[in-house]
Amino acid sequence: MNRIRLLALVVLLGPVGRSRAEPLTAVEPVTRTLAERLRESGRAEVQIERLVLDPISGRTQAALGLLVLEPPDRAAIEFPATGERVTLRADGGEWLQPDLRQMIRLDAGDAAGASRWWELLLRPAAAGFAARRKSERRWTLIALAHAGLAADSASMTLAADGLPLRLEISEPPAGHEMYRFRGWKFSKPRGRAPFVIRPPRDFEVVRLH
C-alpha cells in the first residue's frame, strides 16, 4: 500500500521536478544511520534547540530541550526552562503545560498527528513517507496524506556521521520552525514508564475533542 502511495506521488510530482530535482525515494537513506544505532542500542537521547520565527515580534524564539526516542513507538520531548513536556506512544500520550497548569491526554490519533516527524526518526520504515535529495546531506522529507492528516513536508540535514543535524518544518504561508540536534547519545531502553507523565496534583487534566 505504501509503495502504491509512493508511486502515485512520484507520478504526480514527477513532471514538476523532472527538470532539476532529484527523484523521490524511500526515506531509508536519510534515517539509515539513526535506525542502525537505535537497533543496536534501543534508546537515543539528543539535545534539541527549537527555533521558531514569531511573526508578531519579528524575533526568533529559541528553546533548549531534550528529545528521547525508544523504538518502536515511544518519543518524549522536554523543555526544562518552561517545564513543558510531551510524551508520545502508540496508545496516545500526554502533554504537560505548566504555564497553563494543565495536562492534555492524547489519544492514539492525536499522538499520531503530533508525532509525525518523530515517528519517522523512530521507525524509518514507517508507511507514508518519501524523500528527495537536495544535496549530499540535505533532504526534503514528504509525509503523504494519510489517515486524515494532510500531506506535509520538511527538510532534514544530516551531520557528517549520518545522524540528523537539523529538521526544518514550514507552516505556510509564513511559519517556520527548526529543530537543531546536538550530542546524540545511545543507551539501553528504559521501558514505558519514562514515557508516561503523571499530572501534578493541582493541574487540570483534559482530553482533546
Partner: protein, 268 residues
C-alpha cells in the same frame, strides 16, 4: 540599670508591640469622592494611552455553554493604538489560530483547517463594529468616557459607574478606588452585549496594565479568561506584523463556519 532590668524592659517593649499589633486596625473605607477618583483614572489612562505598541504573552481559557470543553492555550498579542490588534495562538504543534483587526477590518485564519475569514466591514458582515478598536480598548483597558459620563456617574457600592454611548453601543464602566476600570459592559439596544471584568492589574514601570481579564456574554454562552504577561511597550510597530497572511488556497468561510472551525480545534 541592671542586666535583669534591661532584659525585662526589652521584653516589655516586645510585648507592648505585639499587643499593639493584635489591636483592631482601622478599616480603610474606599474614598467615595468623584474628583480624586477621576484624577487617578485619567492619570493612569494617559499613561496607558501613551503606549503606541504593546506586545504580550497570553494564556487563555475559553468556556461557555455554547462551546465544548476546550483546553487552555498560549498566544502572542500585539496591540497598536488606537484601533488594531493581532492575536496568534500557537504551541509546540504549530499555529492554531491567527487573527487580526484594524478598525472595521478583520481577518482570522485557522491553519489546521486552512479556513479563513476576511472582511473590511466587520460591522456589517460580523455584526461587530470596529473590532480593532474594541480589542485594543479591551486588552489595554483604555476606555475613554466623555465628560458627560462623569457628570451622570453613579455609585454602586464602592465603584463609580459611568455610562455613555459609543456609536450604536451603550457602554457602562465601573471604576475602582485605584482609578482603574473594574468592569465594562457594552450593549446594543436589547440585543447582544458583552462584559469584560478586569480581575487584576499589573504594574510595569509604574504603569498599570490589565493582567487578568475575563470576557463573557451575559447568557454565559461564550467566555474567555486571559492572563497577560511579559508585556513590552514599543514606540512604533512595523504595520506589516499586524497582517495575517492567508494562503491563496485557504477556504473562505462565514462567521458561523469560522466559529465551528475554532470549536473543532481540539484535535491536533
Amino acid at each position: 540599670m541592671t542586666r535583669t532590668l534591661r532584659l525585662r524592659a526589652a521584653l516589655g517593649a516586645v510585648l507592648a508591640a505585639w499587643l499593639a499589633g493584635c489591636a483592631p486596625q482601622p478599616v480603610r473605607v474606599p474614598e467615595l469622592a468623584q474628583g480624586p477618583r477621576r484624577a487617578r483614572f485619567e492619570v493612569a489612562l494617559a499613561a496607558r494611552g501613551a503606549q503606541s505598541v504593546a506586545d504580550a504573552e497570553l494564556s487563555a481559557w475559553a468556556s461557555g455553554t455554547a462551546l465544548p470543553d476546550l483546553t487552555g492555550v498560549e498566544a502572542r498579542l500585539m496591540l497598536v493604538a488606537p484601533d488594531a490588534f493581532r492575536l496568534r495562538v500557537a504551541s509546540l504543534f504549530g499555529t492554531a489560530l491567527d487573527m487580526a483587526a484594524r478598525g472595521d477590518s478583520f481577518t482570522a485564519y485557522v491553519p489546521p483547517r486552512r479556513v479563513a475569514l476576511e472582511t473590511a466591514t466587520a460591522g456589517e458582515s460580523l455584526g461587530v463594529a470596529d473590532p480593532g478598536g474594541l480589542g485594543y480598548r479591551m486588552w489595554s483597558g483604555t476606555w475613554r468616557p466623555p465628560d458627560a459620563a462623569w457628570r451622570d456617574a453613579v455609585w454602586e457600592d464602592s465603584l463609580l459607574v459611568l455610562r455613555w454611548a459609543a456609536a450604536a453601543d451603550s457602554v457602562r464602566c465601573a471604576i475602582g478606588s485605584n482609578g482603574l476600570p473594574r468592569w465594562v459592559e457594552m450593549g446594543r439596544d436589547r440585543g447582544r452585549s458583552i462584559r469584560a471584568d478586569y480581575q487584576s492589574w499589573t504594574w510595569i514601570g509604574g504603569l498599570a496594565w490589565p493582567a487578568v481579564l475575563s470576557v463573557r456574554d451575559p447568557r454565559g454562552a461564550y467566555g474567555l479568561r486571559c492572563r497577560v504577561r511579559s508585556v513590552q511597550f514599543r514606540r512604533s510597530a512595523d504595520r506589516s506584523r499586524l497582517a495575517v497572511e492567508v494562503p491563496e488556497d485557504a477556504s473562505h468561510v462565514t462567521r458561523e463556519q469560522l466559529k465551528r472551525a475554532i470549536a473543532r480545534l481540539g484535535k491536533l
